[in-house]
Symmetry: C2
Subunit: 202 residues, 2 copies
DNA sequence: GTCTATATGGCGATAGAC
DNA sequence: GTCTATCGCCATATAGAC
């Protein structure tokens, strides 16, 4: 199992991620994964037995990536303003580098909502924990007019949506690839102020 | 072509929407659409010839629905605050009633970005027009510290994301179906204030 | 562990009767 | 226009040699 320099199982998993993330479960062919990994189709079944097994491994990894990264930023003990700044900067940066993951997860979850609960067991973070950490730092900052859950959702929305809807927004605003990326860079700087403005009283 | 009370072509299109919206192009079987429409599989091909033709009809309708509704709210001549209020209330309401459409569009567009340009020709609204209407009402309201494109994206994010990510957010916050809907109702009331706060100076 | 060859089932699409 | 029957292909999965 660990006798090739870059062990085969890992090569398969990397290839599977690349294809599944872009095309989803139904759109992915085992043959395409095999080609991408530079091996034979039969080997996929040798290592993972079924397409569904392989998919589950990929999905679980994606879920873990997205959530543990969120945890690193929102779960910190920084005061609110810093926390939001970190979350927006680092999280958007992470999403840009893995731009297919959020759409992949959202799409697959809509088709199989029951899978979430299973998968959450594999993430070392309790989902409510994130919310509680945010609530605490809002209390410390004396922000009382906004429900922490709303703030959590709003920030997440504004981080994730521009990544998921990128192809659409590019067309709407007539952006080239480069222009869109620059636009997102500018957003990273301005979003924290936008949000702090929204939640602090005049 | 128009000899049955509820003409067959329309029955097919309705059934196709129901299935395609939930399962996407690759996840949909022609047989399932036929069952849903209460007719035979061969009839689908009689009316639409190929799966892709039928899908394109469904996709185009979904795109038109989403955009013309957005146009009705953002494209109005109301002052900024009213415009935002309308947009948030009516648009979220529409999305709730058609909760599979946004995820459907986002997902399919990521897999076939070129299709957007074709489809935009079928929408009677120029995409940039929406942005320009928003920019004008921001100028009238003397809002100068926020890029209209950012505001547009932020509002859209906060309207659409909670619908697309509903299954995930339900688990994170431990909401029942009813609780989640009530939570969204509360959001409708508070979001306009959140946004107005964000863009007006102290 | 890795390959070639093949089994098995399902899906889109068509032919042809009514 | 609507049906039944069927073709042809392709995808997952397995058998078996090396």
């Amino acid at each position: 199992m660990v006798n090739t320099p870059h062990c085969t199982e890992e090569k398969i998993l990397e290839a599977a991620k690349k294809i599944f993330h872009r095309k989803g479960y139904d759109g992915t062919r085992m043959q395409e994964i095999a080609d991408e990994a530079g091996i034979n189709k039969a080997l996929l079944h040798y290592y993972f037995r079924t397409k569904e097994n392989l998919f589950n491994a990929v999905f679980q990894d994606a879920f873990k990536d997205i959530f543990s990264r969120l945890f690193l930023t929102v779960g910190s003990d920084d005061p609110l303003e810093e926390k939001l700044g970190k979350m927006i900067n680092e999280y958007i940066g992470f999403l840009q580098k893995n731009s297919f993951i959020p759409g992949f997860i959202l799409s697959e979850i809509n088709q199989n909502p029951d899978k979430i609960i299973d998968v959450f067991h594999s993430v070392p973070v309790q989902p409510l924990f994130l919310y509680e950490k945010l609530r605490d730092s809002m209390r410390d900052a004396r922000i009382e007019n906004v429900d922490p859950r709303d703030l959590f959702i709003n920030v997440l929305s504004m981080c994730i949506f521009p990544v998921v809807a990128k192809p659409l927004l590019k067309v709407i605003f007539n952006f080239s690839e480069k222009e869109y990326d620059e636009f997102i860079e500018k957003r990273k700087k301005e979003l924290p102020e936008f949000i702090m403005n929204a939640i602090t009283k005049k």
